[in-house]
């Protein structure tokens, strides 16, 4: 028995205003009130769209592609207070742009290492110190991580790198000059090495 009054109420007022602005305003206020545990933003790159996520401590994730699964992992592993708040990623985006333009050789923003297991963290911190345009072998980074015989484990740790490009796992190659693997796809590893002027070959 829907009557005229009920029909008039249905769906609300004609002025149901755009809520996108309200959501942006919310993100700004949530940042001011320090309520965002994980802020994320999309980042354009020559390698396709990336998703960057930062805690107040620094960049925690740089993900090839944009998928909800990565956000759910952040929610589960860090905090469910995950919000699209691009402002926190401004510096990251600027430095990545400069890197891809060939104008930057190291990143100055801070990194939050917490998504990495302890051994992985050692491997990736060793990797982080490989300079722009240089390469190291899996054995090199395994040794620096305190496991000279752990090349394979180091390879696994690198394969699960949550912050590729910035933690430059693309600079780790096989002894003898082979390219090795890359979770983001070998074409991306080749692109990044080429960008940095590295040519591989038998040594």
């Amino acid at each position: 028995m829907i009557d005229k009054l009920e029909r008039a109420l249905k769906g609300g007022m004609a002025t149901a205003r755009e809520i996108t602005d309200a959501k942006y305003a919310l993100a700004r206020r949530a940042e001011l009130e320090k309520l965002i545990d994980v802020a994320y933003s999309e980042v354009d790159s020559p390698l396709g769209p990336l998703m960057a996520a930062a805690t107040p401590k620094g960049l925690a994730l740089l993900h090839y592609g944009e998928d909800d699964e990565a956000l759910q992992q952040l929610a589960d592993k860090i905090s469910p207070r995950v919000l699209h708040a691009p402002a926190r990623l401004d510096e990251v985006r600027k430095e990545l742009d400069e890197y891809f333009d060939g104008k930057r050789k190291r990143f100055d923003f801070r990194i939050d290492w917490r998504l990495m297991a302890p051994f992985q963290q050692k491997v990736l911190k060793a990797t982080y110190r490989i300079p722009f345009g240089k390469v190291a072998t899996y054995r090199d980074v395994a040794t620096k991580a305190g496991a000279p015989k752990g090349s394979r484990a180091a390879g696994n740790a690198l394969g699960a790198n949550p912050i590729p490009i910035v933690v430059p796992c693309h600079r780790v190659v096989r002894t003898g000059g082979g390219l090795g693997g890359y979770t983001g796809g070998l074409h991306r590893k080749e692109f990044l090495l080429e960008l940095e002027g590295v040519t591989l070959g038998p040594r």
Binding site: L5, E6, A8, L9, K10, G11, G12, M13, A14, T15, A16, R17, I19, A22, K23, A25, L26, R29, A30, E33, L35, I36, D37, V38, Y40, D68, L71, Q72, L74, A75, D76, S79, P80, R81, V82, L83, H84
Partner: protein, 152 residues
């Protein structure tokens, strides 16, 4: 397992916005919306699971709408001039109706809006307003009857 807050926000923002747009004066909608989701964000990590997230956020929204109502009454008592209110972007289609909705007692108003604007079942409305299904139905009916007297 809780979804990322952004997903929760994207899912429920339209519903909450419609609820508030029908419940508070136009210039207060955005404020109430912010207050609702800031409060939700604050306590989000303490939720134990993702069941009833919709009811949960509408409970918060209905309280914020009532808080705003109380504050308005205080302001009216002290007769403060209210200046520079932003005008709504479009004129409401049925301004008398929505003015009458906003004049309803808070519980009747919430029940009417949740039932007829948001199209929720009385069982859930009861959960949102912390009362029984029957009481929710009763509040909604009382509100609707009252609207019939003033709107035609």
């Amino acid at each position: 397992m809780l979804p990322p807050f952004q997903e929760f926000l994207d899912t429920h923002a339209p519903l909450v916005h419609r609820f508030l747009a029908a419940s508070v004066p136009p210039h207060e909608v955005d404020d109430c919306f912010q207050e609702t989701f800031i409060a939700a964000l604050r306590s989000y990590p303490t939720l134990r699971n993702d069941s009833n997230l919709r009811s949960w956020v509408l409970t918060i929204a209905s309280r914020k709408a009532i808080d705003g109502h109380r504050q308005r009454k205080r302001v009216d008592v002290t007769a403060q001039p209210i200046e520079d209110r932003p005008a709504p972007e479009e004129p409401e289609k049925d301004p008398e109706l929505w003015a009458a909705v906003r004049e309803l007692p808070p519980k009747q108003r919430a029940a009417v809006v949740l039932r007829y604007v948001n199209d929720l079942p009385f069982r859930e409305i009861g959960r949102i307003l912390d009362c029984s299904e029957a009481a929710a139905r009763q509040s909604s009916k009382a509100g609707l009857d009252r609207l019939r007297e003033v709107w035609r």
